[in-house]
């Protein structure tokens, strides 16, 4: 009797608690507070966004700084620190209105006085900034909240260049933008972003804390941009270079989030109920880049033979650890996620698996089994794997591949010297505009100096009508598969993992962002 009374009152208490709990904390309510510990693979070379293209710097600095524009969920430019812009009728003058009342982490208001020197510095150092400022005639402030960019010629890349998150046009206070020469990395870090840098202990952690005076935009979160809310008290970025350790630490809860994990950890993470594995896309499409300045691969027929010979699916399957979740077969030069530039074209000589065609092309090329120096690295296992399988497939049709396995630092040095290689492996990440595809330029390693490709690229930089641009881009894609400046393999995806109490994380961006993320208690 007594026993059942206890049971009943316990039951009632439970039910009450459940109802009360529901009433107070509805499902998925955002809560402020907490420290989010994020494990990533290394240390940034700098927190100066203008200075480096390193992806780790991109990820970190986008929490501290903001640019005039950002990217929405379709990877199109949307205003961030800019309020709006107008373009003159001839398309040569862009006038930007800045948002008012936006504060830097040092308490000062952001005005045109800061925007002009910041983007001028960016225009001298960043690859995207340089491309844009090559077209700029004058760049000046009109009044406190208005800046004006006058172009030498019509340009299609003004807004997208100001919006790219990598090597981006972050707005620094005037004092910092003017103090550091463009080629010298800035060592003072003040922005307008939702988090501010609190402490940086190299190889131990970078602490960012909420910026209480952050002024969010009124829109809802949208891709990389829109309204940003800093729910977390602190983001603690912990470099954990050993990937097995990163996996273990997110499993034990020592980390709340781990980026760049090895794909073999996927099954283990899936079995752990406290962890949610996340397939990250876009990640990279695998690429073999040819040296078109000197040596064997200057011969277009030889490049076409390589393209005809390879069977991409088994390569991708191996690289993805046999898991179909982690690769995609696609011939578009822009990944599916960059929907504005993704092409759906058939009849391209991609993944032909045509040994006879390859053999015939080798013959026409006059190839006599000279060794082709193909550089790769084991530092990125996927690069090594796809290089090795490519070697096997190519040797089946009569190529002689000299696979040179070096460390990454050696590879990125050597690829600048046309005497040292014929091809190298790397990955192509998300390019948000056709003009950003670096392998279609004559300055980037591999040196694509084909007249037709380059003239189409400059036409794409000038043409402002989106429809005409898409037509040009499709033409460029067709040309790409004919001239084969590089070999496009398939899309590879990455793996990250979050503890299940990490809420509000946007899974569809290329790189991780933690504004709008909160920790469930």
């Amino acid at each position: 009797m007594r026993g059942s009374a206890v049971v009943r009152s316990a039951f009632l208490a439970l039910a009450f608690a459940a109802v009360a709990g529901l009433a107070v904390v509805p499902a998925d309510a955002q809560v402020k507070g907490g420290v989010l510990r994020v494990g990533n693979l290394g240390e940034p070379p700098s927190l100066d966004a203008h200075w480096t293209t390193a992806s780790i710097t991109e990820t970190l600095t986008n929490h501290i700084y903001e640019g005039l524009y950002s990217l929405d969920k379709d990877n199109k430019p949307i205003p961030m620190l800019a309020e709006s812009h107008t373009v003159s009728k001839d398309g040569l003058v862009y006038t930007f209105k800045l948002r008012q009342g936006v504060k830097f982490h040092n308490g000062k208001e952001m005005t045109s006085e800061d925007v002009v020197p910041s983007l001028a510095r960016w225009g001298k150092q960043s690859i995207y900034g340089k491309a844009l400022f090559a077209q700029v005639d004058t760049w000046k402030a009109i009044d406190k909240y208005t800046v004006e960019m006058k172009l030498k010629e019509k340009s299609a890349i003004v807004l997208i260049s100001l919006a790219v998150p990598n090597n981006f046009g972050a707005i620094y206070p005037k004092e910092i933008a003017e103090k550091f020469e463009p080629a010298v990395k800035a060592t003072e870090y003040i922005g307008t972003g939702p988090y501010k840098l609190a402490e940086w202990k190299p190889d131990q952690y970078i602490r960012m804390v909420r910026f209480d005076d952050y002024k969010p935009r009124n829109e809802k979160p949208n891709g990389y941009g829109g309204g940003k809310t800093a729910y977390l008290d602190e983001i603690r970025w912990v470099p954990v270079p050993e990937v097995a350790t990163r996996v273990a630490q997110v499993e034990t809860g020592e980390l709340d989030f781990a980026d760049d994990l090895n794909l073999d950890a996927y099954d283990r993470l899936k079995r752990n109920s406290a962890v949610r594995p996340i397939v990250s896309k876009p990640y990279y499409w695998l690429v073999a880049v040819f040296n078109k300045k000197e040596g064997l691969m200057t011969n277009q027929k030889l490049r076409q033979a390589w393209q005809a010979a390879i069977d991409i699916e088994p390569i991708m399957k191996t690289v993805a650890g046999g898991k179909s979740e982690f690769y995609r077969m696609d011939n578009s030069l822009a990944p599916l996620e960059i929907s504005a530039w993704h092409t759906k074209m058939s009849g391209l000589p991609w993944n032909e698996r045509n040994k006879d065609k390859a053999k015939k092309l080798l013959q026409e090329a006059g190839y006599k089994k000279e060794p082709i120096r193909f550089m790769t690295t084991q530092e990125y296992k996927w690069m090594y794997d796809f290089a090795l399988l490519t070697k096997q497939q190519l040797e089946d049709v009569g190529f002689n591949i000299d696979l040179q396995v070096v460390d990454w630092a050696t590879l990125v040095k050597r690829r600048n010297n046309p005497k040292e290689y014929d091809a190298f492996t790397t990955g192509m990440g998300a390019f948000y505009d056709p003009t950003h595809h670096i392998y279609l330029t004559s300055s980037w390693p591999g040196w694509t100096h084909d007249e037709d490709i380059l003239s189409l690229q400059s036409e794409l930089a000038r043409e402002t009508d989106p429809k005409k641009r898409m037509a040009l881009w499709e033409k460029q894609t067709r040309q790409f598969y004919e001239k084969v400046p590089v070999i496009r393999y398939g899309d590879l995806f990455g793996l990250r993992a979050a503890r299940t109490n990490v809420k509000g994380f946007n899974e569809s961006t290329e790189r991780i962002r933690f504004y709008n993320v909160w920790l469930e208690k």
Binding site: P45, T53, K130, N166, P202, P241, A248, Q249, A409, R414
Partner: protein, 314 residues
């Protein structure tokens, strides 16, 4: 003794000069470029050239070497490209974790190695002897990183007894520091304990076979007194030598352990610096490590004299 000490210290100078030169040339002669690494995969050649010039990397290598000598003589090891601080400061920041780890691992190695060697020798041919020597053989054979990863999987992921990785300063958070240190110290110390155990055993056996031990036994001394008082002290000299060597090996082994357990020490610093081609840091760490080796050697020599009164340096 004093003259010996002075002589030994003076001998350090040419050794260090050679080390300085070799380190400089080695790191500069391997291919790779710090600027390409820092500016990221999409950087343009023009951007890379400008930054190389800003860092003084475009000057001829012999000029850079002369600058380097001049700096080292002034006690300045240069400025890290990647970490934005003087190398001496980076070294000072990373020294504590490596020292703590090495000492803890050394303690583990000695605590396991010395007693097992003595017990095995005292009970020669018994199951104790065979069992302990089998374990120590395993210790020598198992690679450190494999042991470390398995320790993490078992004790952190599966059982949840200890943190998987990380570091806390022993000065500010002693308790957390201890929990972080258990797994790395044991996995690093275990393989070295094996070496110590084997040396301790064979030295003990040597000593136990000598005449004065027979005499001591004949006097009717307790077997335990014979083993632990009379034999042990004399067996200790080679063991100390091995512990000296072990300390040096541990500093090397700490590289792998620091990477796996994410300890921000000198080992991790040098590995990441090599991958980033952060020349000043690599030079600084190697120089500092060489200096430590030299000092340990000196200390071991002096310890001999202390333990064994027969050894005197003239």
């Amino acid at each position: 003794m004093a003259a010996y000490l002075v002589r030994r210290i003076l001998a350090v100078i040419p050794v260090m000069a050679v080390v300085v030169t070799i380190v400089f040339l080695l790191i500069h002669l391997i291919p790779g470029d710090p600027v390409s690494v820092m500016l990221g995969p999409d950087a343009s050649p023009a951007q890379i050239q400008a930054t190389r010039a800003a860092l003084g990397l475009d000057r001829p290598i012999h000029q850079q070497l002369v600058t380097f000598y001049a700096r080292v003589l002034r006690g300045d090891l240069g400025h890290s490209y990647y970490l934005d601080r003087p190398v001496t400061r980076a070294l000072a920041e990373r020294a504590e974790p490596t020292i703590v780890l090495t000492l803890c691992a050394l303690l583990v190695a000695m605590a396991i190695g010395v007693p097992s060697g003595i017990v095995a020798a005292a009970h020669r041919g018994s199951w104790w002897d065979r069992g302990l020597m089998l374990v120590s053989l395993l210790g020598v054979c198992i690679p450190g990183f494999w042991l470390s990863l398995n320790f993490i999987f078992l004790f952190a992921v599966r059982l949840g007894w200890l943190p998987a990785a990380g570091y806390a300063s022993i000065l500010s958070e002693p308790r957390a520091a201890l929990t972080y240190m258990v797994l790395p110290a044991v996995s690093l110390g275990f393989s070295q304990s094996a070496l110590i155990a084997r040396i301790a055993r064979s030295c003990m056996l040597d000593v136990l076979g000598q005449d004065y031990i027979r005499t001591a036994r004949a006097k009717g001394l307790h077997p335990r007194t014979v083993t632990y008082v009379h034999a042990f002290r004399n067996a200790l000299v080679p063991v100390v030598a091995v512990i000296g060597i072990t300390t040096a090996i541990l500093i090397g082994g700490a590289v792998v352990t620091e990477i796996v357990f994410n300890i921000p020490g000198l080992g991790r610093l040098v590995i990441t610096a090599i991958l980033r081609r952060d020349y000043p840091v690599v030079q600084g760490v190697v120089l500092a490590t060489a200096a430590v080796y030299v000092v340990i050697n000196l200390m071991v020599d002096l310890l001999y004299a202390f333990i064994d009164p027969r050894i005197r340096y003239e």
